[in-house]
Symmetry: C2
Subunit: 302 residues, 2 copies
């Protein structure tokens, strides 16, 4: 397994592999790899002959310097995990390679960047769109895999790829969860044991809404309330947002659900969770897409 | 010579040509082709096995709707010129192909977009950077050629390509001029005969400054004054800007020239040229890079 450090080297390898008729997949990560990332690798492997993982903690997507400083770095374990997963190459550029001296160019995705995590993290999705554009230009993949856990990020990347015309398939991969339902995230490492235990309320909130939809509930306010009531059971939790949105445009969902709706949650956990910038506070996100199927009595009999 | 209308088709052709080991060149244009464009084709031909010309009047780089409406469209002549010049394919997408419904993603280049033409044309260079990014993603060329006449555009594109890491060589091609020195431009077609005659003052202004630099003049204000004095000889001319700038960063040049400096001019021509939005007023730009070589008496004798 190669470790590649420069755009030029990766582009040369991409040209050679493409010239030999091989399909390339890229899995962009910020390291601190866990089973969620490995699910991306596995999904990518099914679509490509070569799977490359990029490991780059992108400074421009951290609005909070504490968050950047506290982001876990686990290089040796990451290399071992990639190797064991059959990854063909790791792309691990230095910051100066991705942001050359004087770099000012950014990619802006418009309205998709504004709601949900865009409120608490101004500039975050500009940073995400810009670094993903650079990674796609460096690796020239046929397919790139991203987790559905970061749903807004996935929507932003799909929009950027469509709008700019990148010749790449964006693959969304379902969220991998702990046995108690907590979505895997590098940030989970920063939860103390009690916060970790309570963090299961996120997925329980999603489950409550999903079950209610299956039972016929269509009222958006009542569905949201089911989710937030679950979260309220955790004393260490403080809700950043809990919203129902259109899964593609991220516009607010209607008061009565007609089609699919994204239920998106962001919750602070830890001591004095209300104070978002406390260094031991961890912000977790989770989501599911609620898919109302017509209730038998609602089906038009014609 | 093929005419290609969709990104997907062009990307497929690019992959096939690259797979066969051929080098690709793209010459992005807005049509209304003249000898300046054909010089781009010729320069591109020397670097590539296939030369593709894109013809797309990009709506997002026109801040003034009159200017967009008045932009010359000469499709049949353009096709004939490309064919005669040995162009291998024309890429002529519809607006909806380059800007799909709901497209919101833009490429921002930062400070290079602000001075010079950025002042009179807000949003122009965002539009340029965005469409050039899309064209590079569509054609996947090894080299793309742009005219030095649009010097700030060339600087913006070089910056974008460097910052985002596009795997493409950007080729700047010297300005082609009429016998009287007027830089070729599609906009020249809109000058009435008297304005056309007077428009030669732009290149005369550049020549005056260049000659003075060759004679040892280094004072920025005096050099600018030589250029603007020439332009003042044309009663139909009204200066938009006349500035000396760093050729790479576009920062203001020092009061006494040390190294190379861009002399950039933008001048309105026509009836009531001061009223920039008069429909018959034409805004022309021209530039040269002044390259002071050390005066013999200035050379350090050691």
């Amino acid at each position: 397994m190669q470790v590649i450090r420069t755009n030029r080297e990766l582009q040369g390898l991409a040209d050679a592999e493409r010239g030999a008729g091989r399909r390339l997949a890229l899995v962009p990560t910020m390291g601190a790899l866990h089973a969620g990332h490995l699910a991306l690798v596995e999904a990518a492997r099914r679509r490509a002959d070569r799977v490359w993982v990029s490991i780059f903690v992108n400074p421009t997507q951290f609005n909070d310097p504490c968050d950047l400083d506290g982001y876990p770095r686990t290089w040796d374990a990451d290399v071992a995990a990639c190797s064991a997963a059959g990854v063909d190459a790791i792309f691990a550029p230095a910051a100066a390679e991705m942001y050359p001296d004087g770099a000012e160019t950014t990619v802006e995705v418009g309205s998709l960047a504004l709601p949900l995590c865009g409120v608490a993290r101004p500039g975050h999705f500009q940073g995400v769109a810009t670094i993903v554009a650079k990674l796609l230009l460096a690796a020239k993949p046929h397919v790139a895999a991203f987790g559905e856990k970061d749903f807004q990020q996935l929507a932003v990347i799909r929009r950027m790829v469509r709008d700019l015309g990148f010749d790449v398939e964006i693959l969304g991969v379902p969220t991998v969860r702990e046995p108690d339902g907590l979505a895997l995230s590098s940030r989970n490492l920063r939860l103390d044991p009690e916060a970790r235990r309570q963090a299961r309320v996120l997925s329980r909130g999603l489950d409550a809404a999903r079950l209610a939809v299956a039972a016929g509930e269509r009222d958006a306010a009542r569905l949201l309330r089911l989710a937030t009531d679950e979260i309220a059971k955790a004393p260490l939790a403080a809700i950043d947002y809990a919203e129902l949105r259109d899964p593609t445009t991220l516009a607010p969902a209607p008061a009565t659900l007609g089609g699919a709706a994204l239920l998106a949650l962001a919750v602070f956990f830890g001591p004095a969770a209300g104070a978002a910038r406390h260094p031991d506070t961890v912000r977790l996100i989770d989501n599911c897409v609620l898919r109302p199927t017509p209730h038998p009595l609602e089906v038009d009999p014609r």
